[in-house]
Subunit: 271 residues, 2 copies
């Protein structure tokens, strides 16, 4: 196969298979090309991935050596994306009764969701993560987007047990903002002891839901590796029970009367 | 920029931006390359995308002419994927009390979910679709996967209204298998009249949930463009109220006593 053809095929391969290790003979055989040519191909792909801020090819030498694609968008790409997102969310028609912000349209765009996933996955790139966990409903697409870049599975916590998932572990927790007792359920099969878990959710006020997921992980003897929330509410900071999280945007100065709202970059921007 | 670099960049561009039209000058400018060279690049990318069964570049000539990537996996790729999926689902340890099948692990794999999305999107490639709709919870990742290949947004129907979504339209429907009256809710803002909607769900028994979504679309004066379900139960076929759907797998011969289960390709295989 000609180099130009190989480059198209290789680029697709790496983008579809992030963090999957392959040795050089795998590619030599697949493309029927000399190892030296393959190595040059990989240099070109690596160069362009870095150039475009997509990540890089991690090469290892020796007998078990090979290559894998690490998706790692740059900090600047992340900030650019976040600033555009803030502008979109500041639209006053998004204000709903009760002081909530309508975000379903933004969260309904696969491309936006994918970018959110890319920013989190890049930020968590050096953390050892075995699984991404979220709670139904709105965190689900975000969790899959993060997991797709990290090449790990997703587990979904529910508010109610479902017959189609078998025996479950459930916990009660106090919702931070409403102070109500709520329940969370995770099927027994879905998480192994000792797993390193990245918690992802769309929104954090006082942090009760996240705290609930942390308690649930305790029950499974699993570890909290990272916590990522798309948006956090600024006003509940003194009540906040969660520490060491990453937020992409922060909703502040939410004025229901004047219909004004300010959305600023979250603590991601502080890194 | 050299051709080899351009090919890596172009491949990434098309894979990340399916169904987005760009004219040739856009690329000539971006890469500072002559139109003739760009045209050759596009030929190479198109050739390899077809070769690997990923889809093709749709070229249009004339003053408004340009190119867009249509992701369209081949029928054979679809069948290969489905047959492997059937094998995985036939594992007797998946049988749960009540005759349900545990699929959460499979649906928790971002790569598997993406492939399911690719198969549906390829099948529906020539249908005019404005939006993908699903009902919480398990259909959500599948809906996003389909939508990402079709480059359209996702709307999520809920079983209960939520304060963070504003005013909603709700309907009651009869669950096909349990014959219970249930409720479905969709925020008013999330769908415009006349929209062509692709309904996606993970599982269909008698089809009550799908019928509910169809009724909901009626309330919005929207159209059902396609219906796709990952798995259908074989045993409820005489009660089935839904027609014109695409299923990838069909669960039949579910024997709770002998712990035997057969999973066959769904009606996708009949095309």
């Amino acid at each position: 196969m000609k180099r130009s053809n190989r480059l198209v095929s290789l680029t697709n391969f790496f983008l579809e298979n992030p963090r999957q290790h392959r040795n050089l003979p795998y590619f030599s055989e697949k493309y029927n090309a000399a190892k030296a040519s393959m190595s040059e191909d990989l240099d070109i792909v690596d160069h362009m991935f870095r150039e475009e801020g997509l990540g890089y090819l991690k090469r290892t030498s020796g007998s078990a050596g090979g290559v894998m694609f690490i998706p790692e968008s740059t900090y600047d790409n992340g900030i650019n994306f976040i600033e555009k997102l803030c502008k979109r969310l500041e639209d006053p028609t998004r204000i709903l009764p009760g002081g909530y912000l309508y975000m379903s349209d933004v969260l309904g765009e696969p491309k936006t969701v994918r970018e959110i996933g890319r920013v989190f996955a890049s930020k968590f790139s050096n953390t050892d993560i075995d699984v991404v966990m979220t709670v139904a409903t709105k965190g689900i697409p975000l969790a899959y987007a993060v997991a797709s870049f990290l090449d790990v599975p997703v587990v979904i916590v529910r508010r109610d047990p479902k017959v189609t998932e078998g025996s479950s572990v459930s916990i009660n927790y106090v919702s931070g903002s409403s102070r109500k007792i709520q329940t969370m359920v995770l099927p027994k099969r879905s998480l192994r002891a000792g797993a390193n878990v990245c918690i992802i959710d769309d929104f954090m006020k006082a942090g009760g839901t996240i705290t609930g997921m942390v308690s649930l992980l305790d029950e499974f003897n699993a570890n909290v590796a990272e916590i990522g929330v798309l948006a956090e509410a600024d006003d509940d900071e003194e009540d906040r029970v969660v520490e060491n999280y990453t937020s992409l945007v922060k909703i502040s100065d939410f004025d229901l009367v004047s219909k004004e709202i300010r959305v600023l970059p979250g603590n991601y921007a502080a890194y």
